[in-house]
Symmetry: C2
Subunit: 202 residues, 2 copies
């Protein structure tokens, strides 16, 4: 027997009902597959109310994964980035979320959660790739945006692992400038380089 969540009294009940519905939809259908309309239907509210409480689908997803910063802040920061500086700018933006003490605990918990079970890992992957990285890559207007976003994701996920989750020296204590110097060129190539993959196409 499944218990109906239904609409609960009061604003915080409604907010929770929407979050619950969103959590299930994102888990079942993925970030792309889930729609505000379906989430609203599950929560038995009007779609306008979902937008009222959470803004865009991106922001709702950020609330579900409890990401500490609004994704629009992250994406806006990279909106007018020049191609030549894209790698360094992505790394600086990454560090601006991770290295602030008020965010770092939350980010660590998120990463732990993402590593511990597959559904969370998928949600986190979709959040990092679909919500944060892919829009940034598309702004650059180059070929294979999805592949480029994923190449960047593989590098920043591994860096997060050794810098924050299992802090390993000298990576864990490297200054921001050193992180940008070490990884900026990698990210730059993934974002804008001629990847020259024999079998690629997208």
């Amino acid at each position: 027997m499944t218990r109906r969540t239904g609409r609960r009294p009061g604003a915080s009940g409604t907010r929770e009902a929407i979050l619950d519905a969103a959590r299930r939809r994102f888990a079942d259908a993925g970030y792309r597959g889930a729609t505000i309309r379906a989430i609203a239907a599950d929560a038995e509210v009007d779609p306008a109310l979902v937008h009222h409480y959470f803004g865009t689908k991106q922001e709702l997803f950020a609330a579900v994964v409890e990401f500490p910063v609004s994704p629009s802040v992250v994406v806006e920061r990279l909106e007018h980035v020049s191609r030549d500086e894209a790698g360094a700018q992505v790394m600086r933006t990454y560090l601006s979320v991770w290295d602030l003490p008020q965010y770092q605990d939350r980010m660590r918990i998120l990463l732990h959660g993402a590593m511990a079970d597959e559904r969370s890992a998928q949600a986190m992957r979709e959040f990092v790739v679909d919500v944060l990285l892919e829009p940034v890559v598309r702004q650059l207007g180059l070929s294979d945006p999805r592949l480029r976003a994923l190449l960047v994701a593989t590098q920043v996920i591994g860096l997060s692992f050794l810098r924050y989750l299992v802090p390993t020296e000298p990576i864990a204590s490297m200054s921001s400038d050193d992180v940008v110097a070490a990884y900026g060129p990698t990210i730059q190539r993934y974002l804008t380089g001629d990847l020259d993959l024999p079998g690629a196409g997208s």
Copy 2:
């Protein structure tokens, strides 16, 4: 009250006692801190018996983390690698372990385990960095071998995550040649490039 493990009758009992002792020592003291002598003492056997059953400390550690291939096979494969081809060779060796069906299940389980709890994550990190990568980097005779090994580790850990643990297209189905083309230059730079980190030193 702690229960003494002690020496058990028969070869398989002894082997298990050594593995138990090694598991605890590697967890408590780390790969570098653990010695064959201490592990033998914990298991109440002669150090020669540890070598008899498991070979070197590397091989014992590989048995503890249940790595499917002998680390000496991996390191030997990279022993005479030329500097110019180091990045591509490391990637080909990485793929040779991951992409063989008989190893892949085991590797997936290892990575899942490493992600799920901190001690396993540390053991895996030490295995990848101290046992596999650092010896390879040292063979190249360049500056900052530890840092270089860690930079490589951040990239291959993140790649393993999106290629094998949460398989994500197009990364998951990329051919070996494409993986080498995409990541070889990154690994090449980490291994042999002028990293030019403002604050580095090692």
